[in-house]
């Protein structure tokens, strides 16, 4: 049995509003989502993570807690009960299509129905302009004990993911 398996890779051959991983096997201990993405519009947008069991929960059952580094400013903030899921960091609107935001999300013990689901997020979104160059370290909570079998990533604002963006979901096995 492999320790870490690639469950699914989505490589966008056309611009897309969102990426969904449905029917996630319930056989792993943990999940890890890794992606590189760019946006197809000039609008800056942060990415959102939505979780679900059978269908995506788009309600107000999410909380966020995060630290950011942007130029010489270190900041921290949080919110709860909002309508935007779990924040994954901020990708930069189209400046140069070669820039890509990179993110790792760890989703732990996702099948346990006695625990709410907490995730850990690391993101870097460069671009060398006033709205870019954010490094982001965060936690997010889905305030539900349901198992996670569906994951969706989308944008808060009017942008699509640019062709060439790539998303892979990994499963981590225990002994």
């Amino acid at each position: 049995m492999a320790v870490i398996e690639a469950i699914s890779t989505t490589y966008l051959e056309a611009d897309a509003a969102n990426v969904t991983f449905p029917s996630i096997p319930q056989t792993y201990e943990h999940l890890q989502l890794r992606y590189t993405l760019a946006l197809n519009a000039t609008v800056n947008s942060y990415q959102r993570l939505w979780l679900g069991d059978g269908s995506i929960d788009t309600g107000t059952n999410y909380s966020n807690h995060y630290m950011t580094g942007h130029d010489s400013t270190a900041a921290a903030s949080s919110d709860t009960g909002g309508t935007n899921g779990i924040y994954l960091g901020n990708a930069v609107g189209e400046i140069d299509r070669s820039w890509a935001a990179v993110t790792i999300v760890d989703i732990l013990d996702y099948v346990n129905t006695d625990k709410n689901t907490s995730v850990m997020i690391n993101t870097w979104a460069g671009g060398l302009n006033a709205n870019a160059d954010y490094v982001y370290f965060a936690s997010g909570l889905w305030d539900s004990t349901a198992a996670v079998d569906t994951i969706k990533i989308d944008n808060r604002y009017a942008s699509n993911f640019l062709r060439g963006s790539e998303f892979t979901l990994y499963g981590l096995n225990s002994s």
Binding site: I7, W124, G126, Y134, E166
Partner: protein, 197 residues
């Protein structure tokens, strides 16, 4: 030439997504740790991987220098000072938060480590991920590091970009304040995507 482990009897399979590519435990001080893609379709060939992950546990050799110093990485022997960008976010030894944007250096930052002035036997940890290393995107990285030096030290996260669309074929880990000390370890892993529908 043998097939990679994910090709079984000529058939593409999805096995271990993380592949151990290389490991170094220094028996002598070294100014640079270098990995070059073998370009042969074997484990050491970077061209088959989506991401590369480098885990270091290191410090500098000698005595009397700075307590903390920064490890750097260089890609493809490219030291063009206009191409590397690093955004730092860290907690300093005094407990304060710090952020800074570094440009104009021909290297990426891969985290603070104990320098030659640190107490003996203290090493610093870092996990550096290089993303989508064979794509036409600029090559971006995330590095998480921890380097407490018993009264000082740093812990933080760096985001970085090498503004080149070239595939990564060589990685150098250096420290311009000195040499990596004996006992420092450097491990590299390749991360595969899902390959079978």
């Amino acid at each position: 030439m043998a097939d990679p482990a994910y090709i079984v009897n000529g058939v593409l399979t999805d096995g271990e997504a993380w592949v151990a590519i290389a490991h170094e435990t220094l028996s002598l001080p070294a100014a640079t740790v270098t990995w070059i893609s073998t370009d042969d379709g074997q484990v050491g060939d970077f061209s088959q991987y989506m991401d590369l992950v480098i885990i270091t546990y290191s410090r500098l050799t000698g005595t009397g220098g700075a307590v903390n110093t920064e490890n750097k990485f260089n890609l493809n022997n490219n030291a063009d000072t206009s191409l590397y960008v690093t955004q730092q976010l860290r907690a300093d030894g005094g407990g304060s938060a710090h952020a800074g944007l570094d440009t104009g250096d021909g290297f990426g930052n891969c985290g603070q480590v104990p320098g030659s002035g640190a107490d003996a036997n203290i090493f610093g940890c870092s996990v550096l991920t290089l993303f989508d290393v064979n794509s036409g995107k600029y090559k971006s990285s995330l590095c998480i590091y921890a380097a407490d030096t018993d009264g000082a030290g740093y812990t933080g996260i760096n985001g970085g970009t090498w503004k080149s669309q070239a595939p990564i074929t060589e990685i150098d880990i250096v420290n311009r304040s000195g040499s990596h000390a004996v006992g420092s370890t450097f491990s590299m892993f390749g991360v595969l995507p899902r390959m079978v529908a």
